[in-house]
């Protein structure tokens, strides 16, 4: 049995890979310039011509594309903006971004060929994590306009797996179906994987002794937080593997292979991933934190060149993993978002870093990071937890958690407060565990100086 979905590409030398990427980049630029006037104008302004692309370094001459530019184009030229390379009649499906940030979602169209490609990318991920035709795959997913696991569903059908579509079901019904149908693979967000495990406990079902062998995670950075992942693996008695993609690209971009190297391999024969310094826009080297910028070759309907994802990552060489792939790795997965950092009394707080500590305590069922203002001037932060454990242990966990959170944040006081069980919101898709109620006054976005 093949270990790789596409052995030719997944194990090619870095030199051959760069040559492939350069050629595909030239084709993509030619296609974009010919078919997308909005993009052609941007490229012309920057003096970029497909014929001039000779090495991957030439990519840096291509202007960045931001979400704001994409959104503005959508507002100027509704409903899709100037991003389409083919007429809407050639599309077979409409999707949107999840909209969890509260912004207007980006709308996207794809053709039949694009959908085959979307599934193809997921096939790299599933195959790489060890999913095979004999598997029974359950999707804890609502199948709406958010693209989410749609491509993953089709990928599993392409692989020949038996697919269990878990849309429009309660958590209890999902747990029962997983057990009754003998699912061997479960696809879910990390948050919802824990939610289902909690539900199983209430129902008296021991998932760890059940048939599930793999949990494929996506949609939140938590899939690569070691403590969260360990908790999921313990509660499900299964291997947990992270994946990450985005609607702007239509599908998955990176995946954790079955060797679980502590990060995700980039699908480099279909994308070029750059990591840049968020302030200087200059590339950063292996091992340095930066923002990922992606160029996608596969989705011809909406060519994407140098899209600023806002994801923070640390790139390392493929040799960090022993699987034999030559695709580089984002160590630790998506480390956070450029825009999700909170500054509390001068200390940077990343929700992911808080979660990494909180999830080490399996007594915590759910949590929320609460920011608020005291006396109109002072920012405070607290962590609210649901802690369904016995009295003595409860105080111990609360005290220890507060101390560790403070130590991890330069001594910032971060009390941990217990709230009634079931009072915090639960999520199926992307969890929003930061509740920011600080008073913002003065100009737009301005905060009172301390």
């Amino acid at each position: 049995m093949h270990a790789y979905w596409n052995p030719r590409h997944e194990t090619m030398s870095r030199d051959d890979l760069e040559a492939l990427q350069t050629r595909k980049l030239r084709n993509l630029l030619e296609w974009t310039t010919t078919r997308v006037p909005w993009q052609a104008e941007r490229l012309a302004t920057a003096g970029v011509d497909a014929a001039d692309i000779r090495t991957l370094d030439d990519l840096r001459r291509v202007p960045f594309l931001t979400r704001e530019q994409w959104m503005q184009s959508q507002l100027d030229d509704p409903p899709y903006g100037g991003v389409l390379a083919a007429p809407p009649e050639a599309a077979i499906r409409y999707h949107t971004t999840s909209g969890t940030t509260g912004k207007t979602p980006i709308r996207a169209l794809d053709s039949a060929k694009d959908w085959e490609w979307i599934a193809e990318m997921w096939c790299y991920a599933f195959w790489g994590f060890g999913v095979r035709p004999s598997d029974i795959v359950f999707f804890a997913f609502s199948y709406g306009t958010f693209v989410g696991f749609w491509g993953a569903h089709y990928a599993c059908e392409k692989l020949g797996c038996l697919v269990l579509p878990g849309g429009n079901m309660t958590t209890e019904a999902r747990v029962h179906l997983i057990v009754d149908a003998g699912a061997t693979v479960v696809c879910s967000t990390p948050t919802y994987a824990l939610r289902m495990a909690q539900e199983a406990q209430k129902l008296g079902i021991d998932l760890a002794s059940g048939p599930v062998e793999r949990v494929v995670l996506s949609g939140e950075p938590a899939g690569s937080i070691p403590a969260t992942k360990a908790l999921i693996e313990q509660q499900w008695g299964a291997k947990a593997g992270d994946t990450a993609g985005m609607t702007e690209l239509g599908t998955v971009v990176m995946f954790e292979c079955s060797h679980q190297p502590g990060g995700m391999h980039l699908i480099e024969d279909h994308y070029i991933e750059e990591v840049i310094d968020t302030e200087t826009d200059e590339p950063v080297g292996y091992g340095e934190l930066g923002e990922r910028v992606v160029t996608s070759f596969g989705r011809g309907f909406i060519p994407v060149l140098r899209y600023r994802t806002g994801d923070l990552v640390v790139r390392v060489p493929s040799t960090q993993c022993s699987c034999g792939r030559t695709f580089d790795i984002y160590d630790g997965g998506i480390r956070g978002r450029v825009d999700d950092m909170k500054v509390v009394r001068g200390t940077n707080v990343y929700p992911r870093a808080v979660e990494a500590i909180v999830r080490e305590y399996d007594a915590v069922d759910e949590f929320q990071i609460h920011l608020f203002t005291v006396e109109g001037t002072r920012d405070e932060i607290e962590v609210l937890v649901e802690l369904p454990v016995d009295g003595g242990k409860r105080d111990e966990v609360l005290d220890e958690l507060a101390r560790r959170l403070s130590e991890a944040h330069e001594g910032l006081r971060m009390p941990v407060r217990e709230v009634p069980e079931g009072s915090l919101p639960r999520f199926e898709l992307k969890a929003k565990r930061v509740k920011d109620e600080r008073e913002v006054w003065g100009g737009s976005g301005e905060r009172k100086a301390m």
Partner: protein
């Protein structure tokens, strides 16, 4: 489409299928019944992935509605 020399026989046959299928849809589409046309288009979308994954340049298919 330029073929690379290191294709195995089975791979080369799949590339030939892709090219032949695209040609049929470009030149004889009007003769095809709906079931023939739509299934051929679906097959072409799948074969595009094979050619694309073989380090070849399969081009775009939007003119065919794929």
């Amino acid at each position: 489409m330029e073929h690379t020399s290191d294709l195995r026989a089975g791979e080369r046959a799949l590339v030939d299928c892709y090219e032949r299928l695209a040609q049929v849809l470009r030149e004889q589409r009007a003769d095809l019944a709906p079931f023939e046309e739509r299934n051929a288009l679906k097959a072409l979308a799948a074969l595009w992935q094979v050619v694309n994954g073989l380090d070849l340049d399969p081009g775009q298919l939007y003119d065919l509605g794929v």
